[in-house]
């Protein structure tokens, strides 16, 4: 199933985008080599840094996976942020309940994160299917509602004792943190979940009728009836699945990264994942890899200020340049030309 031509083209595109990023950095008077060295060191340089990258990678990769489902069904699931946020709310709900002090808490948190995220996704889907509201509008709206709910909870019912601050809730009891192993808190459970979900999704998308029906729904809703299925149902499915997976991303943020609920709990990873899935053209391998590259950028980039004294907005510039030039290159298809050139040189 693996498409090697595609891989070649994508590798060339990656190189070209790196070139463009290098140039951009030089324009800002920054040494790209130093920056990249620092990013790599800052994200992969030690075991604890690597684990930190994993903790960032977890929600990004999950959100990307979630979006593959909705994009397959032709839906712009802008509401992914809200689904992540509600997943985190679900997880926090359990972590703050009587269950929060028991070691079983993270497992029940996942259930609730899936439930909350899935229901939030379902809302978007129902608005689309029953109410004929475009998913981008309902998604944006539900994102705002979700972050409103979180802020309400943080300065209202879930505030710290004697404090009303949007800084976040109390830390969860340690039992409610994502279980880890080793000195550096390797989040084994989370990694297992992600690998399992990716594998499962690979099978679902490629080897089940659900997968192929989602894909055809995304291409032409009018033709589905002829193949004896209702596109509306599959749009709802895609949102349920996406919301559930995004919910787990929210769980990872609350119980893995912050160990509490904070207002911007989604970290903007939902929107980032939209870019990743766009760039990877819904390809499950590339999404997996790209989300890791982006988490390297984020974690390594957050240390640029400490290591090089650079403003940390520089990482925004790198990200934006990456996405933009990638999409432009994808459009103008310059890689094919280069690939031909290369093969001609080698055939001589």
């Amino acid at each position: 199933m693996f498409d090697f031509d595609n891989l070649k083209i994508n590798s060339i595109r990656l190189l070209l985008t790196l070139f463009i990023i290098f140039f951009t950095l030089i324009l800002f008077g920054i040494s790209p080599f130093e920056v990249f060295q620092s990013i790599i060191y800052g994200s992969l340089g030690s075991e604890s840094k690597f684990i930190r990258t994993l903790i960032v990678w977890a929600p990004i990769s999950l959100a990307s996976l979630a979006l593959i489902y909705t994009f397959s069904a032709g839906m712009w699931n802008i509401g992914i942020e809200g689904q992540i946020i509600m997943g985190a709310v679900g997880a926090t709900f359990i972590a703050r309940s009587f269950l929060g002090d028991y070691l079983i808490s993270p497992y029940i948190q996942i259930l609730f994160a899936v439930l909350f995220g899935g229901l939030w996704g379902l809302l978007s889907a129902l608005l689309k299917v029953k109410g004929n509201v475009h998913e981008i509008f309902s998604g944006l709206g539900l994102d705002f509602v979700a972050s409103g709910i979180v802020i309400f909870l943080i300065i209202g019912p879930w505030k710290r004792d004697g404090i009303a601050s949007t800084g976040g809730t109390d830390l969860f009891h340690k039992a409610s943190w994502i279980p880890t192993i080793g000195n550096h808190n390797f989040p084994l459970m989370l990694i297992v979940i992600i690998l399992f979900l990716y594998l499962l999704s690979y099978v679902v998308l490629n080897f089940t009728s659900l997968g192929i029906r989602l894909k055809s729904t995304g291409i032409n809703v009018l033709a589905t009836e002829r193949f004896y299925f209702k596109s509306d149902r599959y749009i709802v499915f895609s949102y349920l699945i996406a919301g559930s997976i995004a919910g787990i991303a929210g769980f990872s943020q609350a119980s893995g990264a912050y160990h509490k609920l904070v207002p911007s709990i989604s970290g903007g990873f939902g929107f980032l994942a939209i870019l990743i899935v766009l760039i990877s053209s819904r390809n499950i391998y590339f999404s997996f890899i790209l989300s890791f590259l982006f988490s390297i950028l984020i974690v390594g980039g957050s240390q640029l200020q400490i290591r090089l004294g650079l403003d940390n907005t520089i990482i925004g510039i790198i990200q934006a340049t990456f996405v933009l030039s990638w999409l432009v290159l994808q459009r103008i298809k310059v890689e094919n030309m280069i690939l031909q050139k290369i093969s001609r040189v080698f055939s001589k």
Binding site: F23, S31, I163, A257
Partner: protein, 403 residues
């Protein structure tokens, strides 16, 4: 296609030339540094909650760090905007660990909001001295005392005095006795400082009628769009509801900006700044002054302790140097009187300050009641440090949320 080849070639060469050049520069500059300060220069980390040039709280800490660099030498590693909104996915303990990676020998974490990360970092790196400004982890009779964290100290200024002066200045200037307090989030510290501003104001209010003192909390130390209330809007609402002086207590200067705008529209309104010595510069014509922190001396002390290997976990709650409140080398708390104060008002304010210094005025003295009518201090009783530090409620007479 020839052109295309040339472009690629040119770009490759260009990248190498420029970036190699850059690398050389930085290497040579770091060499200079190491020659100046010996083989292991003193390095310390400064974690700021807002931008390092916010003309407020964070800049004051940043300049405290620069004070160390000036007096002791050494190098400051700065990480600013460390809060969940600006740096999602980055927690304070991670920043601490990064700074230690970079060679930091001590860390300043400068927001009460950093509590979770500071405690985690201090647990993780027991050998690295950490100063948590405004925290209570080293207050041995405090609620948040952590006897196990011998590497974690606290530094805070007795801003009570600064805020009393601010309240007094506001009351002296106000023509209708309606003052708005632009508050950040709600906790012990902010309730405490809102209360003292009220005490200062009611002490100095000489006009007719009852003093009106409204407190509105935006939800965080500065504006986070979509998360907190907008301080610009809150400031405008104060003026719309009839207040003529605002006491700003947030990290950023929105209160001053709005007041400046209102004044330029012809309104007779004033503002008291906060946190940072030069904050009046935003709106000098309407600024009644600013109580500010001068972190430098205490930070230097702590850094010296580290350099001399004498660091111990201390809870420092330092007041002003009453002889010269604005002395950069000795006074933790300063007050700059603003240009908007008339000479007579300035005289009155100065005598208030003198009386505070001499102890003639003691504002934390009963009878004082809480907002809900319960007794805070019974008649004639003076507040203990703990009663001041842990302030559970706003005082009777103030309007606004206590929780």
């Amino acid at each position: 296609m020839k052109l295309f080849h040339k472009l690629i070639l040119a770009s490759i060469i260009g990248i190498f030339i420029i970036s190699c050049g850059n690398t050389d520069d930085t290497e040579s500059s770091s060499m200079d540094m190491s020659m100046d300060h010996g083989s292991t220069p003193f390095k310390f980390g400064m974690i700021l909650v807002g931008p390092k040039d916010d003309k407020g709280w964070s800049q004051a800490h940043y300049e405290g760090g620069q004070y160390i660099e000036d007096k002791l030498g050494g190098e400051m590693i700065v990480a600013d905007m460390i809060n969940p909104a600006d740096s999602p996915n980055l927690t304070v303990d991670q920043v601490i660990s990064d700074m230690i990676d970079e060679g930091a020998q001590m860390i300043f974490a400068t927001s009460d909001d950093m509590k979770d990360g500071v405690l985690a970092g201090a647990e993780q790196f027991p050998d690295v001295p950490i100063i948590w400004a405004s925290g209570d982890s080293a207050k041995s009779d405090g609620k948040g005392y952590r006897s196990d964290l011998s590497n974690l100290g606290n530094i805070m200024g007795k801003m009570e005095y600064g805020k009393m002066i601010a309240g007094c200045a506001a009351a002296l200037k106000s023509s209708n006795g309606h003052i708005g307090f632009l508050g950040p989030l709600i906790n012990d510290e902010t309730r405490r400082l809102a209360n003292v501003a009220y005490l200062g104001a009611s002490h100095c209010w000489q006009g007719d009628g009852e003093l009106k003192f409204d407190v509105v909390w935006i939800g965080f130390w500065f504006h986070i769009p979509g998360v907190t209330s907008d301080p610009t809007q809150v400031a405008n609402e104060f003026f719309d509801s009839g207040a003529d002086v605002i006491i700003s207590h947030i990290d950023t200067p929105e209160g001053l900006v709005v007041t400046g705008q209102r004044a330029s529209e012809g309104q007779d309104v004033y503002v008291v700044g906060y946190d940072y010595e030069d904050s009046c510069a935003t709106a000098p014509d309407v600024c009644l002054g600013v109580p500010y922190f001068n972190w430098g001396p205490e930070y230097l002390n702590a850094a010296m302790d580290v350099v001399h290997n004498e660091f111990s976990s201390k809870f420092i709650w330092q007041g002003p140097n009453w002889d010269n409140m604005n002395d950069v080398d000795s006074s933790m708390i300063g007050y700059k009187i603003g240009e908007a104060m008339s000479t007579s008002e300035t005289t009155k304010l100065e005598s208030f300050m003198d009386e505070l210094a001499s102890g003639k005025i003691e504002l934390f003295k009963g009878p004082l009641n809480f907002q809900d009518g319960t007794t805070y201090l019974s008649d004639g009783k003076e507040a203990t440090d703990n009663e001041i530090w842990y302030t559970p409620q706003l005082l009777e007479g103030m309007v606004g949320d206590s929780q």
